[in-house]
């Protein structure tokens, strides 16, 4: 099962003592190891034969089975799979460990949006020395592009989240709503649904940076342009403006449930039909099956609504990679496990357990596409999702400090959800906050 990834990001905080402790750790200085270790396939094999212990920080649910299979295949290797938190909690822990120079795992799960930040901090091993270049074509284009930063490969894609429209067919049928294929139809459906049942909403949103950036991505926006340390931020480009216009209508007319994703209320709403659709990543089916058992058989998947009728544009939403922190002890062994987990046998195993693969072989396999999901009324869900994977708009990039930018999203854009501030103004102040941070951190911004 793929565990939700962005949901916990805005979760509740720990406490002041922890803050003090980590500040303490962070300052003990960091030191860089050599940049790109040159390791041949033989070295990797030798490391496997020699064995050893690996510490892996990850929260992705299907890795457990991979670890079991890997240890059975290579009995001399022990893999400690540690859940050091989901999303930014884990990044904070990782960042602190790296700054402190101790306690760094050999391998860490890092979402695509966060990868550039760690790459730029020179915290990750450049994988070209391990022959990662030879993996061209192994992965689907979207995720493969996402693990590169400045032309260097820093991680191997573990899964992917091309977006699709998940909808509650029961609710749609009850109110005579047809599945929207364009965003205009989506707004119309939102109005019709809420008019028919004031307790039902087309979807929920309380301001979610990951969702917003993905929506802008689909609309063709490229608000973040990164060239080394030169960063351009323009959250008023065409794509951003299109999205803001669309979503503002829904907010103004109160057509979106003010419920945060991954909250108890959210699961409840998905189950009782008061939240009728989700535009979300392809990793959602497993979450619905495990978290919303009440709606078994009611949900279906359709392609993401389009800006132009007949289009096929989609975007990635979430998805993560495995990467090797430089301060990890056994880089060669880490690479061996990482390659096993993300390609071939490991990828197949994870796909079988419900992950949405980032490997072309698994995505295109007939068994994968033809799998019928009882939860989705027997629909061949992966057919739709694989199509979504092919439609990801190319050319997107995240900020090299996206983790921070996302953390102040609700300070800025969030205002549009609770006050008279418009989304456009909110995006503008988000841009200002990100620009300021970027400049403070030594980037050349705009």
């Amino acid at each position: 099962m793929t565990i939700n990834r962005r949901g916990f990001l805005r979760g509740t905080a720990a406490f002041g003592t922890a803050a003090a402790a980590s500040a303490f750790l962070a300052a003990c200085g960091s030191d860089d190891k050599s940049d790109s270790p040159s390791v041949s396939a033989n070295d990797v094999d030798a490391a496997l034969a020699a064995g050893g212990t690996l510490t892996v920080w990850a929260w992705e649910g299907t890795l457990k089975q991979v670890v079991t299979a890997f240890q059975a295949k290579y009995p001399k290797v022990t893999v400690n799979l540690v859940n050091a938190g989901t999303g930014d909690k884990q990044y904070t822990a990782l960042q602190n460990a790296i700054s402190a120079g101790s306690g760094v795992p050999d391998l860490a799960q890092i979402e695509y949006y966060a990868l550039p930040q760690f790459a730029l901090g020179k915290s990750l091993v450049d994988l070209s020395g391990f022959g990662a270049g030879s993996l061209d074509g192994t992965f689907t284009p979207g995720p493969w592009a996402s693990v590169k930063s400045g032309g260097v490969t820093y991680g191997l894609p573990m899964d992917s989240g091309p977006m699709a429209l998940f909808y509650n067919k029961d609710v749609f049928d009850k109110h005579g709503i047809t599945v929207p294929t364009t965003w205009d139809e989506y707004v119309a459906a939102a109005k019709k649904l809420h008019a028919a049942d004031p307790k039902a909403y087309i979807t929920n949103d309380t301001g979610d940076a990951g969702f917003t950036t993905s929506m802008i991505w689909q609309a063709g926006g490229k608000p973040f342009q990164v060239d080394g340390t030169n960063v351009k931020i323009n959250l008023a480009d065409d794509g951003s403006t299109k999205f803001a216009g669309l979503w503002q209508q829904l907010i103004t007319d109160k057509l979106i449930a003010p419920i945060s994703s991954w909250s108890d209320a959210w699961y409840k709403g998905l189950g009782d039909g008061s939240i009728a659709t989700l535009v979300i990543g392809a990793w959602m089916p497993a979450n619905l099956e495990s978290g919303v058992a009440a709606a078994n058989g009611k949900w279906r998947v359709a392609p993401m609504p389009q800006w132009t009728a007949g289009g096929t544009a989609t975007a990635e939403n979430g998805g993560s990679s495995l990467a090797i922190p430089k301060l990890g002890k056994n880089n060669a062994l880490a690479y061996a496990f990482m390659k096993y987990a993300t390609t071939g046998e490991g990828a197949q195993l994870r796909t079988d357990n419900g992950a949405f693969p980032a490997t072309t072989e698994q995505v295109n396999a007939d068994a994968f596409k033809n799998k019928e999901f009882p939860y989705f009324g027997g629909q061949k869900v992966n057919e739709v999702l694989a199509q979504a994977a092919a439609g990801v708009v190319p050319g997107w990039s995240y900020l090299p400090f996206q983790v921070y930018a996302n953390s102040v999203f609700n300070d800025t854009v969030g205002k549009a959800y609770v006050s008279s501030t418009t989304l456009t103004d909110g995006l503008k102040s988000w841009q200002d906050a990100a620009t300021k941070y970027g400049k403070d951190q030594g980037f050349t911004v705009n």
Partner: protein, 311 residues
């Protein structure tokens, strides 16, 4: 450290002889307080010194760490986000603390009056919330505040009311004030109550004989009698208000767009170091806030003590 050389001892004996023995005494003293001093220095002074040290540097993603002198402090003093968070806790302090202390005083006086039936029950019941951890209390109130699925939502639905959203931008600070009041009325009540217990009963008898009513007794005997306790409770509350953290931190998941990352100064420092890796700036924010808190608390204490001397 005042223990080292009691003035009385220093004055005894002829001046010429005093040096050697005093020296010996001082080492013995150090041996006794040494273990304490070591721990004190390590867990108390070192972190403060370290935070001060940190605050003079700046670490950038591009360019690494460099010494920036007082630049972080200059930035804090002109940081609108910092001042908005400070303004918010200051407003909180001016409104919530008087209400809470007044309620606590009222309860303490009621229990102390001896006219309350089931007085020990009330004492425990009012004190009970203090025993509930702040995190649990906030979660509990958070559920009640919920306009969708919480108590507020249920009331709205059941009676067709349209109560204002306690988690909306207009009401959130008041909602937090309500939680904090609920948590700390009992604690302050106990401080006042124990101070009231110390007042000699004979004073009340004398007042009675002079024909003073209850209100007069409260005004002229009880309130002056617990002035010290009032002062202490006020200072604790000031510090507590400026340090407001757990309540907004917990409620953030329920009201993500209202509780900004700079909602209170402590939360701001927390967000800066955790989400932004800006440890240096965060340290500067923490130190400025500590100084501001100390200044306000000290000013209140000075004022309170002056009044005490006057009376």
């Amino acid at each position: 450290m005042a223990v080292l050389a009691p003035p009385a001892m220093r004055r005894s004996g002829p001046p010429g002889r005093s040096r050697a023995p005093r020296r010996r005494r001082s080492w013995t003293g150090w041996a006794f307080i040494g273990p304490f001093m070591a721990v004190f220095a390590f867990v108390f002074l070192a972190p403060i010194a370290y935070a001060v040290y940190l605050s003079f540097f700046r670490t950038k993603l591009i360019g690494g760490t460099s010494f920036v002198g007082a630049q972080n402090y200059r930035d804090v003093l002109t940081d609108p986000q910092f001042w908005s968070s400070f303004g918010r806790v200051a407003l909180f302090l001016c409104v919530q603390v008087p209400i809470m202390l007044f309620l606590a005083l009222l309860v303490a006086l009621a229990i102390d009056s001896g006219r309350l039936y089931g007085k020990s029950f009330f004492r425990v019941a009012v004190f009970m919330p203090y025993a509930v951890p702040a995190v649990v209390a906030t979660l509990m109130w958070g559920f009640m505040y919920g306009p969708q699925f919480g108590l507020v939502g249920s009331l709205n639905e059941k009676f067709g009311w349209s109560l204002p959203n306690p988690l909306g931008p207009d009401w959130l600070l008041a909602s937090i004030g309500n939680i904090v009041t609920w948590e700390f009325v009992g604690y302050n009540m106990l401080i006042f109550y124990s101070a009231l217990q110390v007042i000699p009963r004979t004073l009340y008898e004398a007042a009675d004989l002079d024909g003073a009513g209850q209100l007069r007794i409260i005004r002229s005997i009880k309130l002056p009698g617990i002035r010290g306790a009032l002062l202490i409770a006020t200072i604790f509350s000031i510090i507590g208000s400026f340090q407001l953290f757990s309540e907004p931190a917990i409620l953030k998941s329920l009201a993500p767009n209202v509780i900004t990352t700079y909602y209170t100064p402590n939360f701001y420092a927390y967000s800066l170091s955790f989400a932004g890796q800006q440890f240096n700036y965060s340290a500067a924010v923490a130190i400025v806030m500590a100084l501001l808190t100390a200044v306000v608390a000290y000013a209140v204490q000075l004022r309170g003590m002056r009044k005490e001397r006057q009376s």
